[in-house]
């Protein structure tokens, strides 16, 4: 239960500390423990990647930060989310609304449906400004035009008067980023921001996000994705989620050089690379366990090639096995040497 330590993030006070977060969904067929004890730190100025398969709980973690979990059926049952020392889960509705879009903002996966079809782009950008700041309409309009041109919308003054259906997917995602960043939040949560876009545009959007972050000193990004290539290109640190829990946290170099967790090893083995020429890609056997019936012990036990005696019954703790490199696996009690040797990379 040592997870409150630094998790290998850069020096400085963490911007956001998630402690023991549990978000459950109460469905008719049972309780789905989508997030079941997540500890995560986001430092000021870093880009943290949160990777995992569908259903691993990464999106629910992100939604929990801004308390956007639909209730019913979802509920945050335990934990705290400290943002600059304030627990977001204890704030009143008005206080959390002040945080949303102003200090922590979010970009969603689907740019095609994330804009209200009946309002002009300009109205939707200025609405955020006016929801949080007492500014005149002219001032809000001026700032909206400014941010739209900053995110690379050509002729922003003209496009302000247009409706979402006049924008392509990539442009809508640019608008979403503009809305998210117009008030200079200190944390941007990007929930699979490029998944729904054309491959050619994905890189542009990622570059745009990094560029916007670079212009805002101290701003952090939590990038949620299932795409390890995206993580490798953009993130400083990575957290790997599986079965509603963080399985491994490491700097980007450490994770790609020496992955600890068998799940991470499997993930990395399943992406093609230039070096592994003609070999077949490795596949993680089996599929994600049913979220209503997760294993008691290690969540990965059903698919782990190295599972041994304690794994099905005892949940391993998240331990710092190398400096800044945390892992949740019974193979790593001994300072970097797994009890069972991992295969050659």
């Amino acid at each position: 239960m040592n997870a409150t330590a630094s998790q290998g993030r850069p020096e400085g006070r963490p911007l956001l500390q998630i402690r023991g977060l549990r978000t459950y969904f109460y469905t008719e067929s049972g309780v789905a423990k989508a997030v079941d004890g997540v500890d995560l730190d986001i430092a000021q100025g870093e880009v943290l990647g949160l990777v995992g398969e569908s259903g691993s709980g990464k999106s629910v973690t992100a939604l929990s930060i801004l308390r956007l979990i639909p209730d019913p059926p979802g509920r945050i049952v335990a934990g705290e989310i400290l943002y600059r020392g304030r627990d977001l889960l204890k704030l009143s509705r008005d206080d959390i609304r002040e945080i949303r879009g102003n200090e922590i903002s979010m970009v969603f996966q689907e740019p095609m449906t994330s804009l209200n079809p009946v309002f002009t782009i300009g109205m939707q950008v200025t609405e955020v400004i006016q929801a949080h700041e007492q500014v005149s309409r002219q001032e809000a309009y001026r700032r909206a035009v400014e941010i739209l041109s900053e995110v690379g919308i050509p002729d922003p003054a003209d496009r302000m008067k247009q409706y979402p259906h006049h924008f392509s997917g990539g442009q809508r995602q640019r608008v979403m980023i503009a809305i998210a960043l117009v008030l200079n939040p200190s944390l941007l949560i990007a929930d699979e921001p490029t998944t729904a876009l054309d491959v050619t545009i994905q890189a542009q959007i990622l570059d745009l996000m990094l560029e916007m972050k670079a212009r805002r000193a101290g701003a952090s990004i939590l990038l949620i994705t299932h795409n390890l290539a995206v993580v490798a290109e953009t993130c400083d640190r990575v957290a790997v989620m599986y079965g509603g829990k963080i399985q491994e946290v490491a700097s980007i170099d450490a994770l790609f050089e020496t992955p600890f967790h068998p799940y991470t090893v499997g993930l990395l083995g399943s992406i093609p690379s230039v070096e592994t020429k003609a070999r077949r890609l490795t596949v993680i056997p089996g599929s994600v366990p049913d979220i209503l019936h997760l294993p008691v012990g290690c969540k990965f036990v059903t698919r782990c090639p190295y599972a041994f005696e304690p794994c099905p019954d005892i949940e391993p703790p998240l331990i710092e096995d190398a400096p800044g490199h945390w892992v949740r696996c019974h193979l790593y009690p001994h300072g970097g040497t797994p009890a069972v040797p991992l295969p050659e990379k």
Binding site: L66, L68, P70, P72, R93, R97, E98, I99, R100, G101, N102, S105, M106, F108, E110, M112, T113, S114, L115, N116, P117, V118, T120, E127, V128, A131, H132, P154, D155, D158, K161, Q162, Y163, H165, H166, F167, S168, G170, Q171, M176, I179, A180, T200, I201, Q204
Partner: protein, 364 residues
Amino acid sequence: MTENPPALRAPESILRRRVRKFRRLKRGYYSFLIVVGAYLISFFLPFLANNIPLAVRYNGSFYFPLVHYRSAGEFGQRVFGDPDYRALKQQLASAGQGNWVLMPPMPYGPNESLLDLPGTPPNPPSAEHPFGTDDRGRDVLVRLAYGFNISMTFALLVTLVGNALGIAVGASLGYFGGRIDIFGQRGIEIWSSLPFLYVVIIISSIIVPVYFPGRYQLLQPSLWLLVVILAAFDWMGITYYIRGEFYREKAKDYVGAAIATGVSEAGIMFRHILPNALTPVVSFAPFEIVANISALVALDFLGFGLPAPTPSWGELIGQGMENLTKWWLVLYPLGALFLTLLLIVFIGEAVREAFDPKEFSRLR
């Protein structure tokens, strides 16, 4: 590597595009123009069809009896009460002293009994009275015209009040969901199973609104009483649609995105979701107006509607049924009703087609 920006067009909202499409549907659009035009004109009926003149010049001064009531004695007529302006007009014209009376184009009032016509009322159509007179000698054309205004006003008011209530209830059910939704829906089901006609009959036997002669129809308490009663039984239908729309819309990404930017709950409900949920309201409105016109006609026909002598279509149709041999009392009121309902149904059809979302789903 480009995001291929769509060609810069004049920005056009979905609503404006729908309006443009509605205007292309000629039958509905022209029906709309006719009905709206006739309704607007019908507000000026006191200046178009009335037994009170627009202006009188009598002994050197001007009188405007429509604005200020004048008694018969002021014009030298030896009767008490209302002056007979048509007689006064003839008298002044033949006297030729520069005095005159300017009557409206149709110089008969809606509640005026014309007992000096040859024969006994109801009188058949003539050049003076193209639609004949009813069983109290009142001009049918004038009464139909006034009745049109009352029917439309009434139907619009009921639709407006009923929809406002239905939207408010449906929106809360759909937005909050859960227990509010379940109990709210059961409450609505109980309320809708109340027999509407019995309630109206019971209420009208307890509260008998007074008819204020000469007072403008919108200010008659009887009209408002009926509007409230009908609206109270009219709002349930739309709640189901609005509730469904809110359920669907609140799960959409743009609502989540708006919440994530810190928009207030009221802002989410009314600024973001409501405009996206109004399609069923707009598409149903013409048909609701049809239903409410018919409801008023039915109530008037049964005698539980607006009090006599309000010029109402149901009362005229009732006269037609009592005097089946007087064809003008059957044909004209029913014809007017049929034509009005037909035109509004045409409007409704075109609105429905213009709001059909299928055309727009291709854009996604």
